[in-house]
């Protein structure tokens, strides 16, 4: 019989701490009572009300679109930056780029949000563009801070990659661009996917930066949730939370499963 160590007790306690609040939300989303903390029997009625709330549905659609475009742009910028960070020789330009790209990782969100808003206001003042803040400005803001995460994920993959395959391709006459798309991209595709998914969830979740960067034209889901939650607990938000938790868990599990399978498949021929 294995002795239960202090650290493994703490691990289970910690996991309980992480999951219990979410479990409570899920349970209470089926609460019939309007008094949100008193149990009044099982009922799925809040889900019905949720799907009739046009404001929430619109916000979901806006958020999904912004998240899709932002994470795509973030992968492009982040991968280029990661490539510079891992494959370029030490230079002043490389050093400033790698500092700038990872800075949003540790920047308080209020500062990032405020600075971008002021930029947009100044640009509108000087060039008349962007005319009003909305999806486009949120897209710019999210692409910038998500690119930081993509750069970290992709550069760690690029670093551990076997360089000799890229070198062989170039020795055989492939251009660097062709080598990148034919050799490098397939090899780092799990990292690209992971970076994209991470960016997608970050963008979907962001409240502070979006509140600064957005205008009357684009209200994202976290903005709607926040303004409703500020007033207190709402059973409709519990239902929404349950759906978010379920879909994130599902996507996380699927992507983890697929990444594991892809990794196994990728590693096999090289090891042989």
């Amino acid at each position: 019989m294995k002795k239960l160590s202090f650290s493994s007790v703490m691990l289970w306690f910690g996991l309980l701490f992480l999951y219990a609040p979410m479990l409570v939300l899920v349970i209470y989303s089926f609460n019939d009572s309007k008094l949100v903390t008193v149990w009044g029997g099982f009922s799925p009625k809040w889900y019905g009300e949720l799907f009739e709330d046009q404001q929430i549905l619109d916000a979901v659609w806006t958020s999904l679109r912004i998240a899709f475009y932002s994470s795509t742009m973030a992968v492009v910028i982040g991968t280029m930056a990661a490539f510079v960070m891992t494959r370029f020789k030490r230079s002043w330009a490389k050093l400033t780029l790698s500092n700038m790209i990872t800075a949003p990782l540790v920047m308080p969100e209020v500062i990032t949000g405020l600075s971008l808003l002021l930029l947009f206001v100044h640009m509108a003042d000087l060039f008349g563009w962007p005319k009003e803040r909305g999806m486009l400005t949120v897209w710019i803001a999210h692409s910038t801070f998500c690119a930081a995460y993509v750069a970290v994920v992709v550069s760690s993959r690029l670093r551990e990659l076997d360089r000799s395959i890229e070198e062989a391709a170039m020795d055989l006459g492939a251009t660097p661009l062709k080598t990148f798309f034919v050799i490098t991209v397939p090899m780092i595709s799990p990292a690209l996917m992971a970076g994209w998914l991470l960016s997608f969830s970050l963008s979907l979740d962001d409240l502070v930066i979006a509140s600064f960067a957005s205008g009357p034209g684009a209200t994202t889901l976290p903005m709607v949730v926040f303004s409703s939650v500020r007033m207190g607990i709402s059973p409709k938000i519990n239902a929404l939370a349950t759906l978010i938790i379920l879909s994130v868990s599902l996507i996380a599990f699927l992507s983890w499963y697929m990444a594991r399978r892809a990794e196994k498949r990728d590693r096999m021929p090289i090891n042989e």
């Binding site: 703490m10 996991l15 992480l18 008193v38 910028i77 510079v84 991470l198």
Partner: protein
Amino acid sequence: MKIPTRLKWLKGRIWTIGIPYLWLLLFFALPFAIVLKLSFSTAAISIPPYEATFQYADNVLNVFLHFGNYLMLLDDSLYYMAYLSSLKMAFISTIGCLIIGYPMAYAIARAPARLQTVLLLLVMLPSWTSFLIRVYAWMGILSNTGIINSMLMWLGVISEPLQILNTNVAVYIGIIYAYLPFMILPLYATLVKLDMSLIEAASDLGSSRINTFWKITLPLSKSGVIAGSMLVFIPAVGEFVIPELLGGPDSLMIGRVLWQEFFNNRDWPVASSLAIVMLGLLIIPITLFHRYQARSLEKDL
């Protein structure tokens, strides 16, 4: 043949570095310059709501630098109290995350390799679901009629509900809860690389387990401790959502004050100077993070 290829190659390199460079210059560096500029301006009732810093008239460029915002931050106790209490709350929460997160990371690093990925996934999964939703979940749990209070009253420990929601305690719980995964990840990354034979050697030589921990395990995981602590401390200082939803009116935190100055008082210059001072306070932790991040975080995020 050789020269054009070389030229094309160089051009490709310039594009590769140029595109992200320009993007970041425009959307990261320039905005900070603007915040700095605006922090020396004054609020005005106009659109946009501040006085211009640079004025060009009759071939003369006038620069108006207004230090009033910074003097006011020093003068008005509200602001430095907010800074102090942000630093205090972020510090205590970081210690809390460390106390809970270190044993967790240690247990994961010592688990069988197959189990490790599953446990890490379990730790990270909550941080991929909505941050806002996770903070919101605590509103229901901590409220006067919430689960904790009902349970304690049912057990007869207390006769009246404890006021937990809208106090600083709730803010601590919220920050620790929200940032715990970010503490565990870098800690795990350093602990998993720890050479177990060193610990065995220490115990063979008669060192007690506690002594081994303080003398061997903890010093060897220093880079993970620092990276994880900074990953919690830095965003916690500027936190807005948690004090706003879980804290009371007296839970002053600088992110919240900045938000109020900006959105409620529409005083953009004061908000900018608050941001500049906050950044100044965070410079040391941010550089610390950058130094240790390379060692522990990059590999496993």
